[in-house]
Symmetry: C2
Subunit: 293 residues, 2 copies
């Protein structure tokens, strides 16, 4: 958490190098590959991370996601390590970034969390946020009820009170976190009440979209982990293109972590996270400090 | 040669996926990192290639260049192989692309070659072109005369008649190939005679520039290995921005290899090569076919 917090602040303060991600599509195989690079200025390691998602792999008994993190020496360019982590570092830094910004922007007294989606990030976003604040109740929405039930059963084992919910009921929670691969909004803007905080985690390509543009029009505070990335392939970009949010109405998530904003209790707040390469570099540095002499 | 020829043609015909390269700069260490990806549509392997150049490494006895080629399965996204080739595949595909397009565009009777630069690509461009056509004489230009002499000595051992030359004399050769990291033109446009072919190999970043913009103004035929890349960080881009070449006056190198153009004997022709990720993918596929069951 501390590493990710510091990296988000460094990124917001311009102390990172994060080129635009590179991606390739393989339409016939329903696959894609993303490459993200990042460096925190002055640190000893930078990373180039290759991540693939091939969504027919389960037909062959293979996982959908593969990839590796290449950690290179920022003084010599030599490869320091290849971390064949199966996406673990990405999952953890995404969980940490989501929990940190959700906690920073949600009302202090907000204790009801709704999560959209039932995958690894749904699990992590709930449990990591629960480390930062008490959650009295967790609502889980999925288009497949049995998946929502399974996640609730697991969350119960973690001491959280969870139950499946319709999209409508979930939209009425104090805190909403979306973790789906949706290509059209998963909740209705009008169903979201005043005082709600919403964090969007899932959008990582231009055609993906979880949060309705109209919700941005109602928000009093919009946080993005990277302005350009969120314009290019985040929910914020959809809102900007549809005209419900101005192009420069977002605030860097890292600055909001460093200096928590005054938040009117009835304000709607949104965080749009697309995943910043500098976080990969920060986490890889920590891993290498622990693994290498 | 055949693999690179086919890959250049595939790229020119739109049968490749080649995202814009990603790069990071490390100004304090005089270093940079480039990531190039490529796929030839329908082939079983795509590549993500990480290449670094850290130009103070020689002070510590390390090579300046490092990197590796990650070959991934285009049907599942799994990593098939990491080729820790020390830049060999890049050197070979660059040599092949240069030799092929130089041979295709130079006058059939051109036998005098001048090479600017004395590094690995200078050596490879000369020897690989010599496989495709007889070279009666090779002129080597370097700002450091002893380096030019060393390369000439080595070329002599390869059966080539080579001697050092001033930039002015070198510019009068029938064929000119530039292989330097120059950031301002290495030859004078007016010193280049009618009927000359010039291939630029060195420019791989926006601030690099080997060929004078005025030379493009005199050229009757301009070939680029990738239109967008050459606009962004090739010599062609400098000429376009300076107004001596129209933005759409270039021809895809692959199409010129497939259908050799009619070339007036007194025409000046130019090839600007920036290195296309699809060639890496093509070469890696061949390597894996030879290495793996």
């Amino acid at each position: 958490m501390d590493t990710v917090r510091e990296a988000l602040i460094a990124h917001a303060e311009g102390r990172t190098t994060v080129p635009s991600p590179l991606h390739l599509d393989f339409p016939d195989a329903e696959g894609d590959c993303h490459v993200k690079a990042g460096w925190i200025t002055g640190s000893d390691t930078f990373t180039v991370k290759i991540a693939t998602g091939f969504y027919r792999n389960n037909r062959n008994g293979l996982p959908s996601n593969h990839g590796l993190v290449c950690a290179l020496d920022a003084r010599t360019g030599q490869v320091r390590a290849l971390l064949n982590d199966g996406g673990l570092l990405t999952a953890l830094r995404t969980a940490a970034a989501g929990a940190l910004i959700t906690h920073a922007l949600a009302r202090p007294d907000a204790t009801t969390l709704a999560v959209f989606g039932t995958g690894e990030q749904a699990r992590l976003q709930v449990t990591w946020l629960a480390r930062l604040r008490p959650l009295a109740r967790v609502l889980v929405h999925s288009r497949a009820l049995h998946r929502a039930q399974n996640l609730c059963t697991w969350l119960d084992t973690q001491g959280l009170h969870a139950r499946p919910a319709t999209a409508r009921t979930a939209a009425e929670a104090d805190i909403i976190v979306t973790t789906t691969p949706a290509t059209s909004p998963v909740l209705e803007a009008q169903a979201v009440g005043e005082g709600t905080h919403v964090t969007g985690i899932g959008a990582d390509m231009p055609h993906k979209n979880e949060l309705p543009a109209a919700l941005f029009g109602r928000a009093q505070l919009i946080a993005t982990d990277d302005h350009e990335q969120c314009i290019d392939h985040g929910d914020f970009g959809h809102a900007v293109r549809s005209g419900t949010a101005g192009r420069h109405t977002d605030h860097p998530a890292g600055l909001l972590l460093k200096n928590p904003p005054h938040r009117p209790l009835n304000a709607i707040t949104i965080a749009d996270l697309t995943g910043v390469g500098a976080l990969d570099a920060a986490l890889a540095s920590v891993v290498l400090r622990n693994l290498l002499p």
